[in-house]
Symmetry: C2
Subunit: 418 residues, 2 copies
DNA sequence: CTTCATTATTTCGGAACTCGAAATTAAACG
DNA sequence: CGTTTAATTTCGAGTTCCGAAATAATGAAG
């Protein structure tokens, strides 16, 4: 059942849509906010005044676009997030690497670093402390105060338990059940969560994509966009109802470890026949090189070896071409299964795994065609798009900021807070 | 982006939760409604007064449960939906059969019928008219007025396009693209929709289940319940966020036609290797009887033949046992794939397809175990429950009534309307 | 340089809700 | 028949939004 509604709900929701519009469409004047949100100018005035009083927003002086500033009438004054009053910290951990990005409330990245860290053989009970140390160093090196950081989000490959902030399993770690959120919460006394990296890509895509409205608004039907990332692994994020869906425990959309062939090739997750076992770097490598099925699947395939494979595929070497075709088919059948279950309206596929595109794209589409009835398939837009490499950090920041918007919005108008 | 909020949203939402509570928990007094919804007694008084003025609710005289009525103090007066002021009409079409149920606003079925109708060889352009005629007859035979019917919902096996009210494909029809909603809308001038029957089972389950709260409320995480029905076919409904998810076009959760084995056994949908091709009646029959793979898959298996098969399975006939095991494995891998994508918190399985339960249940669980990583699996409750046979009509009625609640709730307090 | 036109923003009063506290109502108890 | 108890209603206050009118800040025109 839904929650009861009262004026507090109204305030929260309207403040949130104002903040969200502002975050997505850059600095905006009150009139513009009114047009975008559907709120009256009077209400925008009130809401803006409160947000300004709370040090969340500020008016930006001058510098309007020429086309607008040379009009008659009172010029508009745009509003923007105040920088330096609050930050969020996004962290991405991948195999033996940690990246940090500090962003202000407007989403601007103000500080950024990447460094080496031993993950694979890390001790679970120590790793949280190591990350905390890195954060402390990172913040010390910046000119920002740790106290200005509202929230930390960690994006990581593998299976995250968001309720408990634990990394249940990851190809980056030999160990299981690595606690990540608690050590940081204890150390820095701020909210901290852990999420799957592919879901963070979806968060970023959600922000980018807010402009083109999903079709649900028009038809009343619910639309889903699935974002699939293929490369060192295969991940997916699901955007439903303008939110990224994380599932009951945060493990939603483990697309790469959805089974493709029952009792098939071994996967680094320990099961057999996962999509990744055919479509991820190591799966393609294994097939192309005719390695035995029980070949330890978790060794990272370096970019040089993948480049070799690509060249061989371009050259038409049959075994390699077949490997890429198998990879495409695995992805295609996975997408077909996704369509059968969720009837999404849009599927976006990206990542280095698409490099041998003239082989893999047709194989994907063929797999989709073989795997699901045409009536379901024909309404789904399947798009191949490039993602920028830092999409994970970007998405983590976006997710953190949406969190903060919700929080900022929670308490009554009682002076500065953030 | 979310919609802006205003006092109308507040009214709508609060009216809806009141109506919903009343529908699910039978007649309730104002105090009880207050406790359940979290609204103050004062607000409940106001809301109830409006709903009574609009002829939607009425006070029920006397007959309180003894335990309550023999207390001191002013006795409570319960509220209930007024009967006879409005109805919804639920229709279930299956192979060569049509069932109709007329329910009043409280959800009580006041009239009900089932009859024969030729579907499989029906002409698409004529079938809508035939259904309309049946409805007219049905209503004429009842003592209710067609004008009191607010809305019609049709539940049907196969793939429905809810946006256009068309049955895209169904095992009950040789033809494709059978228009169903438009003919009824034209004839009766009321809203009408078409939906998948398995999704209607989920609607019914949603109503039944509102008592035990889904876990999202507590944790903030999103929970999904999947309801799987296996029998003449295999269907699934997804309950997310206290709503049944229908997908972009209404084709969500075509679980039975999710691929199990690439290029596998032919399915009556025209693809190969669908779960149904192994787990539905005809799939089990085909395997158990060693029929060739290309055996026309769409002939209905009558209950007598299925009973034979069950007896043979009980008797331990190896080929038949193997067929049921294969069926269970297909279901199990399907569920494993579902878990990998959606990380649901609960999966409910039911239907006559579970009859050979000592064979099929372990096979299902083994398939799940083989198909998805333990960390994801362990948080999912998998339950085998009996559904009543009329669950489809029941769920359709529930869905229709929730629609009507939303509508009733839309306009301002301007006199009787429904 | 003044006045007008134009556009943005604020102010003000009214309307729609909810809520808490204080009546009011309707029974059982003694 | 008064007292106690519990349900419901009434009343006044507190939010928040909105429309209309007022105010502010500018360019254009004379």
């Amino acid at each position: 059942m839904q929650e009861k509604a009262d004026s507090e709900l109204v305030r929260r929701q309207n403040r949130r849509i104002v903040l969200r519009a502002l975050r997505e469409k850059g600095p905006l004047a009150r009139v513009e906010l009114g047009r975008m949100t559907g709120l009256s100018p009077a209400s925008i005035t009130t809401i803006a005044a409160q947000l300004i009083a709370e040090n969340i927003l500020e008016e930006v002086a001058g510098n309007l676009p020429l086309a607008i500033s040379s009009r008659r009438g009172r010029p508009m004054t745009r509003l923007r997030f105040r920088s330096n009053t609050g930050h969020v910290l996004a962290i991405n951990i991948s195999i033996d690497k940690i990246s940090l990005a500090l962003a202000d409330l407007s989403g601007l990245i103000v500080e950024c670093s990447a460094s080496h860290v031993l993950t694979f053989n890390a001790k679970p009970e120590q790793f949280g402390g190591i990350v905390a140390d890195r954060i402390a160093q990172f913040m010390a090196a910046s000119d920002r105060d740790m106290a200005s950081v509202n929230r930390i989000g960690i994006a990581i490959q593998g299976l995250a338990d968001m309720n408990n902030g634990i990394l249940l399993w990851s190809p980056a770690f030999a160990a299981r059940n690595v606690p990540l959120a608690e050590p940081l919460k204890d150390r820095f006394k701020i909210p901290c969560w852990v999420a799957n990296d592919a879901n963070m890509i979806a968060e970023g895509f959600l922000s980018l994509d807010m402009a083109e409205r999903s079709p649900d608004a028009a038809t009343g039907r619910q639309g889903i966009t699935a974002t699939i990332f293929t490369g060192y692994g295969v991940g997916m994020g699901l955007i439903m109802d303008d939110k990224v869906y994380h599932g009951a425990t945060g493990g939603a959309s483990e697309f790469g470890h959805m089974n493709h062939i029952p009792h098939g090739a071994p996967c680094r997750c320990g099961r057999r026949g996962c999509i990744e076992a055919y479509a991820a770097d190591y799966g393609i490598w294994r097939l192309a090189r005719g390695r035995p099925d029980d070949d330890a699947p978790h060794d990272a395939i370096d970019s040089q070896r993948m480049a070799e494979l690509l060249a061989a595929a371009e050259g038409g070497e049959p075994k390699v071409v077949a490997a890429f075709q198998t990879a495409g088919e695995a992805l295609g059948f996975g997408i077909a299964r996704l369509i059968a279950i969720l009837n999404p309206h849009r599927i976006v596929i990206a990542g280095p795994g698409l490099s041998a595109s003239h082989i893999i794209k047709p194989a994907i589409l063929a797999g989709v065609a073989d795997g699901v009835i045409e009536e379901l398939r024909r309404n789904v837009a399947i798009e191949f798009v490039p993602f920028e490499t830092d999409m994970i950090l970007r998405g983590t920041i976006d997710a953190l900021l949406r969190d903060v918007d919700g929080e900022v919005t929670a308490h009554s108008s009682a002076g500065a807070s953030v």
